[in-house]
């Protein structure tokens, strides 16, 4: 009698595990995936914001790009006031500003600003 009782407890545990398993399998649907966005342009004839704004706020703009670019992937698109769409990526900046190798460095050196962008991104100064 007692023997059967105990065996039954084990069987019950197995049943519970199976139940848990089936519930888990049923919760797989997650957030809907978006279709691949066509990459936005990385080239432009004028900046994403007016020059004066960028003088004082480029760090905030880049901070936002940095925080969203990796997570949103192809959906990380910046739309300018005049409707241009640009990929949030440092290479979008460098598509224009990379032509002047000292563009970032002349000011940063003067202001003794030491951003850590170039720990990983390859700077125009390092390119041949």
């Amino acid at each position: 009698m007692r023997k059967r009782h105990i065996l039954f407890i084990g069987l019950l545990a197995a049943l519970l595990m199976a139940l848990l398993f089936s519930f888990h399998a049923g919760t797989e649907g997650e957030a809907p995936a978006s279709q691949a966005a066509q990459a936005a342009a990385v080239d432009s004839s004028s900046c994403v914001y007016p020059k004066e704004y960028m003088h004082t706020h480029h760090m905030q703009v880049l901070e936002d790009w940095k925080n969203t670019a990796a997570h949103e992937g192809p959906d990380a698109v910046h739309e300018t006031a005049d409707g241009r769409k640009l990929q949030k990526n440092l290479s979008t900046c460098l598509a224009c500003h990379g032509s002047n190798r000292y563009f970032c460095f002349s000011c940063h050196a003067y202001a003794n600003a030491q951003p850590n962008c170039w720990n990983c991104h390859i700077s125009p100064l390092e390119t041949p």
Binding site: A14, E28, E30, A39, N67, H71, P74, C120, T127
Partner: protein, 252 residues
């Protein structure tokens, strides 16, 4: 007389548990334990759109060829570090039997990379949300956020995450300017070439393979080449029994 109660209880309950599990596994799993079942790649309800996947036809993969690896590592500035502890790999070739388990008939080396799991255990472990699954199925790392705790390395059952113990730039001879390097103290792994996909290009390894052994496409699109191959061939995944739902498949 009742002294051995506890032991008996554990023994018998355990027997019951084993019997129950045996019965349940017969009921719950369809087909072989390790072989790819259609449920592993078919779109699950509520998951539509894009899920990038890769398939290796290892029958076309010649012994000793490492063109895919070289191309990947060059494109993504993966440093060449010889020491076993310091080694960084986005792609590597391993003994097929060790990689894919006993169902793999061949012990020839087959390419391996991050599986871009649909249920990535690395992402669950990351305390900072630096490694995460994107809406297109790519498991990506935000190197800006990574604090280098290596939880992801510990929880990836495939050992596909590498850690930068030293400055990777020192070990890079000929860097690709378009792609960043990493810095000391962050992890890295294959990014399914998200940097190239966004520019409408195929992954670097796919393009580099002269034998056309690598297919890449949307697993949720029934008309894609990869789905056609999955439907017409017997394929294997790495450790599918863990429930990570890898997006990388192998024809042996």
């Amino acid at each position: 007389m009742m002294k051995n109660d506890r032991r008996e209880f554990i023994r018998k309950a355990g027997m019951g548990l084993l019997a129950g599990m045996g019965a349940a596994s017969g009921l719950l799993t369809g087909g072989g334990f390790e072989r790819t079942t259609s449920a592993a790649w078919a779109a699950v309800p509520g998951e539509e759109g894009l899920r990038w996947g890769m398939l290796f036809d290892t029958r076309r993969c010649p012994e000793g060829c490492t063109l895919c690896i070289e191309s990947c590592h060059h494109t993504h500035n993966v440093p060449d570090i010889a020491s076993l502890e310091g080694k960084i790999e986005w792609m590597h070739k391993e003994n097929g039997r060790e990689l894919l388990g006993s169902l793999c008939a061949s012990t020839a080396a087959v390419p391996a990379l991050c599986n871009h799991c649909a249920e990535p255990s690395c992402a669950r472990a990351c305390p900072t949300g630096s490694i995460f699954r994107r809406t297109d199925g790519i498991v990506a790392i935000d190197y800006h956020r990574c604090v280098g705790c290596r939880s992801c390395m510990q929880s990836c059952p495939y050992g596909e995450v590498s850690f930068n113990w030293s400055d990777p730039r020192a070990a890079l001879k000929n860097p690709t300017v378009e792609y960043p390097t990493r810095q000391r103290g962050v992890v890295e792994k294959c990014n399914f070439c998200s940097d190239r996909l966004v520019r409408g290009k195929k992954p670097s390894c796919v393009e580099a393979c002269p034998e056309g052994a690598i297919s890449f496409g949307n697993l949720n699109d029934p008309s894609s080449e990869i789905r056609r191959l999955l439907e017409s061939s017997e394929t294997l995944q790495r450790k599918p029994e863990l429930g990570t739902r890898p997006s990388v498949f192998y024809i042996i």
